[in-house]
């Protein structure tokens, strides 16, 4: 059970108020018309799914309804940091290029 800090409400709230939306920092294609099938498939479906540090998008859907990013360890489930959309994480694994 998570106790999550919402950077918009500036408060810790229970997991039940939030929804997770998967991998963060997936850039939308700049020129969608130019994409190959492979590039579209990768954008839509293929994910890092790391065992370890994961940057992911959450929404405070039963609160302020705003989106934000969380860096979390997917093995211990420990939340390392919370940061707003548009910001970059400060906690990154060596292998990680966001």
């Amino acid at each position: 059970m998570f106790h999550i800090y919402c950077p918009h409400c500036c408060e810790h709230r229970e997991e039940e108020e939030f929804h997770v939306k998967g991998q963060a920092h997936i850039a939308r294609p700049v020129d969608p018309e130019a994409l190959s099938d492979e590039e579209w498939g990768n954008y839509l479906y293929f994910r890092k799914n790391p065992r370890g540090l994961h940057h992911e998008l959450w929404v405070h859907n039963a609160g302020c309804r705003k989106f934000f990013n969380v860096t979390r360890d997917t093995v211990t489930y420990e939340i390392k940091e919370v940061y707003k959309v548009g910001e970059q994480p400060s906690v990154v694994s060596p292998a990680d290029k966001v």
């Binding site: 997770v20 998967g22 099938d37 293929f46 799914n49 065992r51 489930y77």
Partner: protein
């Protein structure tokens, strides 16, 4: 291999059951195998078994980082059915069902496959329309499937509240009489024993830490215990850890690993002799031969490799179960656990070649792969033996996420396992 029989039981009782042969050997690895299977769950062991028994490839190693069946195979709620919507999936799961029906005899190991029937409940008009569509599709594929109304459901499960007074009244169900449950760890052990008897080497407590790749071709695995082991072909069957193995090969998969939780109650007298599942209120329940009620939840939404999930997920499931079975409100829960399921965007598996030559993946079974264990192992073995994907496996290539030929089974999979 020592043959198991009723007579054997009596014979061994004379020596106080102290002389049973080990079910499988504890070998040391050779330098080179024809095939290495990564992952000693049901699917990996079944793959090795059929490779050796049916396709004549006996120089096979199974490398398991923990103990056999310690992954999702030993953690699931053991529901077996084949009533999937689309032809591709229906054929694959029905292929498994056919093998289930003879599995205990084939393995000479009692997997306690019990065809007690599975009900998939409908609670809304749309549920019922989907059920009728799926039942009709099943019948066209030769799969036993019936659509029942609430009264017929009530006759099968007298203790369930099928009245109109509940928040989400039961309007009907799909019913597959040949579906049921099996003993999950017996499936892992039976396949392991059978594979071993055909010459397969099984290594437990041995983790694959890297893939050995030369010129874009996989030629073996690196392990934490035995160093490098080489092979002609490598098959990864690592469920929730598949993305980790893929990363060793330098590619991504269309998978997310999620916690999936289940729990069992204290044992009670026989009260539920079938399996009840509901996508709509999100819960499913059966009763084991020991008497405990076996209850499964939906996945936790976040990615997780920790084999545990959040309490609210269990709470929601129990709310749904109690809405259906108010009679269970005083039953105490005994144990609760989680597995790591590898969910795929179209709720169908990946049985596939990969960007790396001679490296194959069997994964993406997510919340519902136990039922497919024999069929999955069989078609993957055929593919590994020939280096050419089995016709039943072909639609489940990982590259369908590039071509767009997805097989959307969210309706048939749902919460459903």
């Amino acid at each position: 291999m020592q043959h198991y029989s009723g007579f054997g039981l009596i014979k061994h009782s004379l020596s106080h059951h102290e002389n049973w042969q080990r079910a499988w050997r504890n070998p040391t690895p050779k330098k080179q195998y024809d095939v290495i299977v990564i992952g000693g769950g049901g699917h990996g062991l079944a793959t090795a078994y059929y490779l050796a028994k049916e396709f004549g490839v006996t120089n096979v190693a199974v490398v398991e980082k923990g103990y056999l069946g310690g992954g999702n195979t030993g953690r699931n709620t053991t529901i077996v059915r084949s009533n999937y919507l689309w032809d591709e999936a229906a054929h694959l799961y029905e292929h498994a069902m056919g093998l289930w029906e003879g599995l205990s005899q084939d393995l000479n190991y009692n997997v306690m496959f019990s065809q007690r029937g599975v009900l998939n409940l409908g609670h809304t008009l749309q549920d019922m329309r989907d059920i009728h569509r799926r039942v009709n599709a099943n019948r066209l594929n030769g799969i036993d499937s019936e659509a029942l109304d609430a009264k017929q459901v009530q006759e099968i499960v007298p203790h369930m509240d099928c009245s109109a007074n509940t928040r989400y009244p039961v309007l009907g169900a799909s019913w597959q009489p040949r579906a049921g449950v099996a003993r999950h760890d017996a499936v892992a052990w039976g396949y392991a024993r059978g594979a071993d008897a055909h010459g397969v080497d099984i290594f437990q407590q041995t983790e694959v830490t890297d893939l050995i790749i030369e010129d874009g071709t996989c030629v073996g695995v690196r392990t934490n215990r035995y160093g490098d082991i080489r092979a002609e072909r490598v098959g990864s069957v690592t469920a929730g850890n598949s993305s980790v193995i893929a990363a060793m090969g330098g590619f991504e998969l269309p998978l997310e690993s999620h916690p999936l939780q289940a729990l069992v109650s204290e044992p009670v007298k026989p009260i539920l002799d079938t399996v009840v599942m509901s996508n709509h209120v999100h819960g499913y329940i059966s009763q084991s031969d020991k008497g405990d009620l076996v209850i499964g939840a939906g996945i936790d939404g976040y990615n997780g490799y920790g084999q545990r999930g959040s309490f609210p997920t269990i709470e929601h499931t129990l709310q749904a179960i109690l809405e259906l079975f108010p009679i269970f409100s005083r039953v105490r829960m005994n144990r609760q656990w989680g597995g790591i399921v590898d969910t795929c965007p179209d709720a169908c598996p990946i049985i596939s070649e990969t960007p790396i030559k001679n490296l194959y993946f069997n994964c993406g079974w997510g919340t519902g792969g136990f039922k497919a264990t024999p069929g999955s192992g069989h078609v993957f073995a055929a593919s590994l033996a020939k280096g050419d994907m089995h016709p039943l496996a072909k639609p489940f290539s990982m590259f369908r996420f590039h071509t767009g030929a997805l097989v959307d089974e969210h309706g048939a999979a749902g919460v459903a396992h």
